[in-house]
Every structure is written in structure tokens, then in C-alpha cells.
């Protein structure tokens, strides 16, 4: 009787044996992520010199290091914003059903498979001074000298767009398809022209999805590393924070500093994500009327 009662009481709170299904995943994350990560944080507090916060002090007192945060944000934020912003109108156009939609979506997804190296090689070939792009521009007469689009900010930016856009697009298309299309029609019958419908109905309902998508693409862009080296200007314009972390850990072998930079990287990223999710929680977050 009492055991049954206890079981009932726990069950009422939502605790029963089914929760054990969570155990393997939780164990994996704890052992393979939380433990090493905590280890890394611990390491960052044990620099060779400068006391507990020495590694952090080293990072923040050196403008060359500190500026990598701004450099990275300067790349990741615009890239994430562009990826999300460009996905919205395209997904908006594509949410209905039409012939060739599946093909078009598939093609839009292709860049996911490219991988950093091909993207980097391709950008260097294509956008390089004698690549097809500049050749076209010159032969059309738009410019006399080749436009420099690689080994600088733009090269990295384009590679972030190529790898990030399809991802953002897929997510947004998926979120957008979850919004009940009759809402749009209802607004139409109430006299709202298309841009009012978009601005006042679709966009607010899409906002939570936009926030999530933004966070995910931002995270992808923020940890950019290979392409910052390959198509960027890793000493200057595109010296992103992961290059600093890499430099500290693998070139100077200052593991505490490397860990500290990694931790800072994580914190900056979480801060941006928190701001975005915080803004999101101010908005409507309930059902979007999608039909199951």
C-alpha cells in the first residue's frame, strides 16, 4: 500500500522508471563533455606565471589578442545575420507547394556537403585575381583591375555564407512551414497587403525560429578556423579568436592560455546566444498553428 502510494506520488511529479531512458545520453554528455570541459577550465586557472587569473590577464592586456574578439564578432555576426536575413525571403517564397520545390531545396542543401577545404579552394580559384569571377567582370568591362575578394575579410565572409546559408535556409523553411497558412489568408481578408501580412503576422510568428537559427549559424560562424586561415588574412583582418587559441595551444604550447582563450570564446558565444534568446523570450513563443 505505502509502496504503491509512494510510486503514485512520485509518478504524479513525473518521476518514474521511464526517466532511465535519459541515463545513457546523460552519462555520455557528462563523461565526454562536462568532465573534459571542466578539466579545461581548471587548466586555464593554472598558468605558469601570473596567478590564478594570469592567463586571462595575458589575454586581455594584449590588444593584439583582445582584438580577436572584435574581429571574430565582426565576421560572425554579419555572416549570421546575412544568412538568416537572406533565408527569410527565399523561404517565404518557397513555403507553398510548387513544381520543382524538392529539387530546388535539394540543390540549396548541396553546399552543406562541400566541406571547408573545397570551399576554400573553390573561393581561391573562383574569386582569385585571375579566377572566373574577375575574368568575367573584366571582360564585361565592369572593372579594369581584378577585385580582391580572397585572402581578406571577404574571402572568409563568403565561405561562412556558403557553408552557413543552406543550414539557415533549411531551418527557416522548416519553421516557416510550421506556421498555419490560413493566418496569412485571414490577414488578407482583413485588408492587409502582402508586406503588412509579412511584417505583422508571419515575421512575429517566425521570430522564435529566427532566434534559434541565428544562434546556430552564429555558433558555426564564430568558431570559424580553417577558412579564416585558408581564404583569409590570418595575421591581420581575419585573425579570429580560434587562431589565437590555436596559436597559444599549438605554437607556443601555453596550454593554460589556450584553455583560457577557449573559455573566453565559449563565454562570448554564450553571451551572444543569451542576448538573442533573451530577446526571443520577450516575443510570442506559443504555438504557430502548424497543422500536425
Amino acid at each position: 500500500m505505502t509502496r504503491a502510494a509512494l510510486r503514485h506520488r512520485l509518478a504524479e511529479r513525473g518521476i518514474d522508471r521511464q526517466l532511465l531512458l535519459l541515463a545513457p545520453a546523460l552519462a555520455c554528455v557528462l563523461a565526454l563533455f562536462v568532465y573534459p570541459f571542466a578539466y579545461g577550465i581548471g587548466l586555464s586557472f593554472q598558468p605558469a606565471e601570473g596567478g590564478v587569473l594570469g592567463a586571462y590577464r595575458t589575454f586581455f592586456t594584449d590588444a593584439y589578442q583582445r582584438d580577436t574578439i572584435a574581429t571574430t564578432l565582426g565576421l560572425a555576426l554579419p555572416a549570421a545575420i546575412l544568412n538568416v536575413a537572406a533565408s527569410v525571403p527565399i523561404a517565404y517564397r518557397m513555403r507553398g507547394r510548387f513544381r520543382g520545390k524538392r529539387l530546388l531545396t535539394t540543390v540549396l542543401v548541396v553546399p552543406i556537403t562541400l566541406g571547408t577545404v573545397l570551399t576554400a579552394e573553390g573561393l581561391l580559384n573562383y574569386l582569385g585575381p585571375t579566377g572566373w569571377f574577375n575574368r568575367t567582370l573584366i571582360s564585361v568591362g565592369l572593372t579594369d583591375a581584378p577585385v580582391r575578394l580572397t585572402n581578406n575579410y571577404w574571402g572568409v565572409f563568403f565561405s561562412l555564407v556558403i557553408t552557413g546559408f543552406p543550414f539557415a535556409f533549411l531551418l527557416i523553411l522548416s519553421y516557416l512551414s510550421g506556421i498555419d497558412p490560413t493566418l496569412d489568408r485571414a490577414a488578407a481578408t482583413l485588408g492587409a497587403p502582402w508586406w503588412q501580412r509579412f511584417r505583422r503576422i508571419t515575421l512575429p510568428l517566425l521570430a522564435p525560429g529566427l532566434a534559434t537559427t541565428f544562434c546556430l549559424t552564429f555558433v558555426l560562424a564564430f568558431s570559424v578556423f580553417p577558412s579564416a586561415v585558408l581564404v583569409g588574412d590570418p595575421a591581420g583582418e581575419t585573425r579570429v579568436i580560434s587562431i589565437a587559441a590555436y596559436h597559444a595551444a599549438y605554437e607556443v604550447y601555453d596550454y593554460p592560455l589556450g584553455s583560457a582563450i577557449a573559455v573566453i570564446m565559449g563565454l562570448v558565444e554564450l553571451a551572444v546566444v543569451a542576448v538573442v534568446l533573451g530577446l526571443r523570450s520577450l516575443l510570442y513563443t506559443g504555438s504557430t498553428g502548424g497543422k500536425g
Binding site: 580582391r148 585558408l230 590570418p234 605554437e251
Partner: protein
């Protein structure tokens, strides 16, 4: 299959031969296998009683230390032999990763006595920890297409003047990502007559000033040497930094037109380069025995001749008296077609200098990154 630790204990004396055939896991972080894989394969084939199987893997030098360290921390070293350049070698020495081979096994490596002058100097850098396996004098050289640069600069000043007259035409890759880039960096103090060519921070004032001046006319620093080669080939760069190997091999591969020319700046010193073999601490004695026998074999002139390759590390051999006609036919043919007879004279006429040690080099890179490569954004 064999367990990675077969071949006995990590401690204890190293026998003359392993008790049974071992598996060797070789990690190459310097691109050295291109030169030596043939030697290793041949030795393994001939000595199947010592070496059962060889696995090769490749990595970049910076990652090497982290990986070995992680393995040593865990007491599970599964890399038996590392082929590395100066950078990886030095980093490992500083972190205490390598097994000291000298002077304990000097007698087993008799080939070391035959090192050429430059190679012997490079061997000093390795201290007791590594064995030089290949060597070349490297650079700095400049490379250009004669059609586009009819009268190439002859001195450092002329190079600067040329750059000034043709903004964007002179190019070298970011030194920390590029052999020719770093060779140029290390060669400049000799060219310009700096006070201490071995101290990039306080002894290179002329060099830094020169680089800063040059920087005004350099539009970009690619992240890899191949990028500068490509730019040379397609005409968007007119003069790039190069080395003997980077001159010959890309022309063999077709990345750069055959007709490209190299030039040397007046009064330059060769900044030499070499590849080393090192054994991480924690490798069992049996394996060490096999490796020592392998290294001894690799240092024989017959094997060293393979290092001519297709000019990748021209000339390549680290020991004296290895001539081109000892090399495999393929090598001979490539070098006869794409090599340059004038190299012999250049090597003979110009002094050889060992490169910076790892610490100084990292400092030089850092300074270059901050003050030259990063200067464009600072403004």
C-alpha cells in the same frame, strides 16, 4: 594482429635487434616521407624479421606536440617514430618528449659521421634528441617569369624599389605557414647586415624596417606557398619568395610554368633546413632497436640518394658524397629536366646558416603577425 606495444618494455636497455618483428607507426609532420618512404619500405622489406608492418600517418607540426603529450600523459604512446622539421623537433625538446638517442647509440648510427657541412650544423640543433635524415640549403631565393620581369632585382634594395614601382607584384606567404616565407624572414638579417641575425626581437632592426617598408607595396600575404606559386603562374604576382625545392618541384608538378627563373639577392646567406627522425619517450625498447637499425640504413649513401626525389628538397641528401647519378632513374630525369646547374655554384659560393631556434622563430612569427601582417588593420 600485433599489439602496438609488442617489442617489449619502454624501459631497459635497447637490444641490437627486436625479439620479434614489430609494427612501426611513423608520423610525418614535415612532408619528409616524400623523400624517405622509399628508404623505409625497402628496409622493412629486407628486414622482415625486425619490422612486420609500417603504418604512415601525417600531421601538421603544431599539432604534433599536443598529440604526443596526450599519449604520454596517458602512458600509451602509439607513435614510434616522428619525422619532423626544426619546429616540431625543438618544441618536442622543450617539452621533453623525445628519447635521447645520442650519445648512447652514436655507434649504431655510423652514417652520422658522413654528414655534409650544412647537415652537420643542422644536427647540432637536434642536440641529443634527433637524427638528421635529409638536408637542403633552402633559400632565400626569388622566383619570377622572365617574360614578365625582364630585369629582375639583384639586391634587397632593388627588390624594394621594384615593389615600390609595381605595387602588389612582390609576394611572399605568411611566414608561419610557409617555408619560403620563413626562409626569407630568416635570410633578411644577413642580407641587410643586421646586428644579431639570431635575435629577431632586438637584433633585427633593419629587417623589420625593411619588411615594414615592403609591406606598403604588398597587397596580400597568402596563407600557403602554393598560393604564391599559383599567383606567379597566373600572373597576379610577379616576384615571389622561393627555395631550391620550391623552385624545382612545382615546375615538375606543373603548378608553375617550366620557364620560371630564380634569382639570388646579392650577399645572401643560405638559411638551411633539415628533417629529423625522433623517437617519442615511451616507445618500447624492441621498437627502438628496429628504428635505430632503420635510421642507420637510411644514412647510407645508397639510400640517401633517394632524397633527390623530384627536387622537392633539392638536393636532399644529408651525407657527403651522394651524387645525382646514384639516385633512382625517375629522380635523375626530373632533375635533369627541371633542375638548375647554377645551384651547385650558388651553394658553394654562399655561406650556410642554421635557422633560428624554435623559440626565437615563434617570437619572430609573432612579431611579423603583429607588426607586418596585422599592420594593415591596425591603421
Amino acid at each position: 594482429p600485433e599489439s602496438p606495444n609488442s617489442g617489449g618494455d619502454a624501459t631497459g636497455p635497447v637490444p641490437a635487434k627486436p625479439d620479434s618483428a614489430v609494427t612501426l607507426n611513423i608520423l610525418d609532420v614535415a612532408g619528409n616521407l616524400q623523400l624517405t618512404q622509399g628508404m623505409i619500405d625497402e628496409f622493412a622489406a629486407k628486414n622482415s624479421d625486425q619490422i612486420g608492418k609500417v603504418t604512415y600517418s601525417k600531421a601538421t607540426a603544431p599539432e604534433l606536440v599536443g598529440k604526443i603529450k596526450a599519449q604520454q600523459n596517458a602512458n600509451r604512446v602509439d607513435i614510434d617514430l616522428v619525422l619532423t622539421g626544426v619546429d616540431g623537433l625543438a618544441a618536442g625538446i622543450e617539452q621533453g618528449l623525445w628519447t635521447p638517442l645520442l650519445p648512447a647509440y652514436k655507434d649504431r648510427l655510423s652514417g652520422m659521421n658522413g654528414y655534409s657541412e650544412g647537415a652537420a650544423a643542422m644536427q647540432k640543433l637536434a642536440g641529443d634528441h634527433g637524427v638528421t635524415v635529409t638536408y637542403y640549403p633552402s633559400g632565400p631565393l626569388i622566383e619570377y617569369l622572365p617574360a614578365k620581369v625582364p630585369s629582375p632585382p639583384k639586391t634587397a634594395e632593388e627588390l624594394l624599389a621594384y615593389a615600390k614601382a609595381n605595387p602588389g607584384a612582390v609576394q611572399y606567404a605568411r611566414p608561419s605557414n610557409s617555408g619560403p616565407g620563413r626562409t626569407l624572414l630568416m635570410g633578411l638579417p644577413y642580407l641587410l647586415g643586421d646586428s644579431d641575425p639570431k635575435d629577431p626581437i632586438s637584433g633585427w632592426s633593419k629587417t623589420w624596417q625593411y619588411l615594414a617598408e615592403l609591406n606598403k607595396y604588398v597587397t596580400l600575404y597568402p596563407s600557403s606557398t602554393s598560393e604564391t606559386m599559383k599567383n606567379l603562374a597566373n600572373g597576379s604576382a610577379k616576384i615571389i619568395a622561393s627555395t631550391t625545392g620550391w623552385d624545382i618541384n612545382p615546375r615538375v608538378l606543373g603548378t608553375v610554368p617550366k620557364e620560371a627563373q630564380v634569382g639570388a639577392l646579392e650577399g645572401f646567406h643560405w638559411v638551411t633546413d633539415a628533417h629529423y627522425a625522433v623517437i617519442p619517450k615511451g616507445v618500447p625498447a624492441g621498437k627502438q632497436a628496429a628504428i635505430l637499425n632503420l635510421l642507420a640504413d637510411m644514412l647510407t649513401p645508397q639510400q640517401q640518394a633517394k632524397a633527390y626525389d623530384k627536387g622537392y628538397f633539392y638536393p636532399g641528401p644529408a651525407v657527403e658524397g651522394v651524387t645525382l647519378d646514384m639516385a633512382p632513374a625517375e629522380s635523375r630525369q626530373a632533375i635533369q629536366e627541371y633542375g638548375r646547374p647554377e645551384y651547385d655554384k650558388l651553394i658553394a659560393d654562399h655561406p650556410l646558416e642554421v635557422p633560428l631556434d624554435a623559440k626565437a622563430l615563434v617570437a619572430a612569427f609573432d612579431k611579423w603577425d603583429r607588426e607586418i601582417g596585422g599592420a594593415k588593420v591596425k591603421k
